[in-house]
Amino acid sequence: MSRKKIYVDRRTVLKGAATGAAAILFAPNIVTAQSKKIRIGMLTILSGRVAQLGTSSRNAVMMEVEKINAAGGLVGREVEMVIRDSKGQPQEAARVARELVNSDGCEILYDAEASSGGFAVHEVAKDLGVLCIHTNSETSSLTADPKIRIPNAFRVCRQGIHDSIAGGAYAAEIAKAKNLRNWATCSPDYAYGRDSTQTFMEYLKHFYPEAELKTEAWPKLFQPDYTEVITKVIQARPQALYTCLWGGDLTSWIDQGNIYGMFSQNQVFAVNMADYTALTTVKNLPQGIHSGNRYIKTFPNTPQNAAWADEYRSRYGEYPTNWSWQNAVGIHFLAAAAKKANSVDGKKLEEVLRGLTIESPFGTDGTVTIRAEDQTIVNYAIGWGTTIPQEPYVPEVKAISWETIFELETEWKKRNNYL
């Protein structure tokens, strides 16, 4: 009988403790409307393998936010970034996004998560109706698919489909010139890897129908040992090779490919090569790898772009990454929108952001625009070039025309019933 009493007591104790803890932890963070600061909740990946995504995103954001605050903030209100680690886990991303908006008084959600984390945050934005800026999620369907797209979410980063069209167009010209008919691909086996590779081959064939895919290799994402995929590719003796491996995977693939002489036999098209971290980390960078631009200081070849890169570098001791410029441009858009709407109210910002064009060091012609119909950026600098193993790494980048991209993108959307 005494057992029963203890049982109830224990439960009560636990409940009491839980309520007490809750009181301390969850006291609502009251931010009154009269408060000077505007809180923007940013979630990104700050731990694990891809921690660099988060740190470089955060670096860019803080750099830009400081400049904005120095100039008076957004319509007179100082910007306060609340930055949390969502660890690349979608359930954590969902929880953190909700916490930022519900408990920490954030009025805007700045989503610097990637792939599945981004989709989880997208659902939270759908539920809460808060303005959400996606800065690192490159999956096209996030904005292209009308079933997924929502009016309060905007994407300010590059898109898979744009990169594939640009890559296909560029590669086709090289292929025509050098008669590269036999192709092989070696890309990581996950959504981004599969979609990018598939659409690249499609557009390559669109511009150069003689191209033939002889062999495909599909390593797992973050696979450390590429020996079997490298040997598979080599044995097919392709004339050209496409890969969308990135970051550490790309560098170890190059290291391992080098000892097999993989790069002396083929023309290699690595869409993610032209990223400073990758370029500077690989000790024996082969000459003449064709790469798309992730972020290159000399493309666009403007003083504004160079100045931004230098500012980032002197402040953080390293070059900016693709994630850096995307997060910077997001802040630029917010600033421009706030100024134009003369408000930081989410709904008003939404209306202004649709179709907004801003001056940007990252734009093809000095401007970047958020396309109104699918709320994603266009006209950002896209181009391809070949690498050399020392500065400036990619001396000449050939810009790809956005007319071509638009035409084929529209056709792609029609094919997928997105229009």
């Binding site: 700050l46 731990s47 694990g48 393998r49 921690a51 660099q52 988060g54 740190t55 036999n182 086996d189 599969r194 590779t197 598939q198 081959m201 895919l213 002889k214 062999t215 495909e216 290799a217 599909w218 797992k220 973050f222 696979q223 450390p224 040992d225 020996t227 079997e228 995929v229 040997t231 598979k232 080599i234 044995q235 097919a236 003796r237 970051g247 550490g248 995977d249 560098t251 170890s252 290291d255 391992q256 080098n258 000892i259 097999y260 002489g261 971290t277 980390t281 690989v282 000790k283 024996n284 390293e318």
Partner: protein
């Protein structure tokens, strides 16, 4: 290997009405596999490929199985040992530009760390629930991943190939064998043989084997089992660190790089038999060959296949290929 292919590209519309199995996205490419088996160059290249994958994996798995065999501890921190070895080697190489010193530093450094880990942490949970051991190991994985990120930074690192190995690859029967990989194969085989010799023929090895079977008897004979346990754990950790250091020229380093090798070593240890080093050797080479030839025949099922193999062995002979029953 060249010539018209009748295989279906994954994601590209099917040609020639090729049947698509199970996963609607890709298919089996058995034609390519049979092509490979009938080509000497392919066999040489892929077999070397399999050996390389397998032997590096063996070093890690050997340490894991040794620790389990003698201490009955499942060392979930083993992947982190590998990661530490890689980072130690990277740093020492930066300081001294000597790959040999780097590898040595990796082995010794991680061996010492493993010793510290065992004496102060693991020894407290000997005989406890395996889940408590798992908890302690997991705590260390969390701490080490963060520590590595703080000390070395969040971006990935790469050491590059030491100059000695930057020679063109060997060609045997048309198959390709890179110089560095030949070196790795020789070194790991050497270590494997050395390990076997030590365990089978030295006094220390005999004591270790005895401690694995009957620790109380060993201690009754006046031998300090605590020292033995510490030594075994240190050796196991050293092997993992050595693997990390050896592999550095062809890996990129990030926090969390230990995970995939941890899972693979478990698969190898289960297949080979927990506690059997020879089993670990057979298991890792098997896995290596499966990966090498599997990437040609069924590129997208390789990982699933490894887990399926693990399941099959567990069902048919749970103690593994060379493990002891019971």
């Amino acid at each position: 290997m060249t010539g018209p292919r009748s295989s279906v590209g994954c994601g590209v519309p099917a040609l020639h009405g090729r049947r698509v199995y199970f996963s609607p996205r890709c298919n089996l490419d058995l034609a390519a596999l049979t092509d490979c088996f009938s080509s000497a160059s392919c066999i040489v290249t892929q077999t070397t490929s399999g050996l390389i994958i397998g032997l590096l994996l063996f070093l890690v798995a050997a340490g894991l199985t040794l620790i389990f065999g003698v201490l009955k501890v499942v060392n979930f921190t083993h992947g982190s040992f590998y990661m530490l070895g890689a980072y130690f080697a990277y740093t020492v190489n930066n300081l001294t530009s000597s790959y040999a010193l780097a590898v040595l530093a990796a082995a010794i450094g991680v061996g010492l760390f493993a010793l510290f880990f065992e004496r102060f942490f693991i020894s407290r949970v000997y005989g406890a629930n395996v889940l408590m051991q798992l908890l302690v190991c997991y705590a260390f994985i969390l701490i080490l991943d963060d520590a590595v990120k703080i000390i070395w930074g969040p971006e990935f690192k790469s050491m590059g190939m030491p100059d000695i190995f930057q020679a063109p690859p060997f060609f045997v029967a048309g198959g390709i064998i890179p110089v560095f990989y030949l070196f790795l194969i020789i070194v790991t085989l050497f270590i494997a043989v050395g390990l076997w010799l030590i365990i089978a023929y030295t006094r220390f090895g005999t004591i270790v084997r005895a401690a694995a079977v009957n620790p109380s008897m060993v201690s009754a004979l006046g031998i300090n089992t605590g020292l033995i346990y510490a030594a075994v754990f240190a050796i196991g950790g050293m092997l993992a660190g050595l693997a990390g250091g050896l592999a550095v020229p062809v890996r990129s380093l990030t926090a969390g790089m230990g995970f995939s090798i941890l899972i693979e070593s478990f698969i190898v240890t289960v297949i080979g038999g927990m506690g059997s080093i020879a089993g670990a050797l057979i298991g890792s080479i098997l896995i290596g060959l499966v990966r090498a030839f599997g990437s040609i025949g069924f590129p997208l099922f390789v990982e699933g296949l490894m887990f399926a193999l693990m399941a099959i062995i567990l069902i048919l002979k749970p103690s593994g290929l060379l493990g002891k029953e019971g």
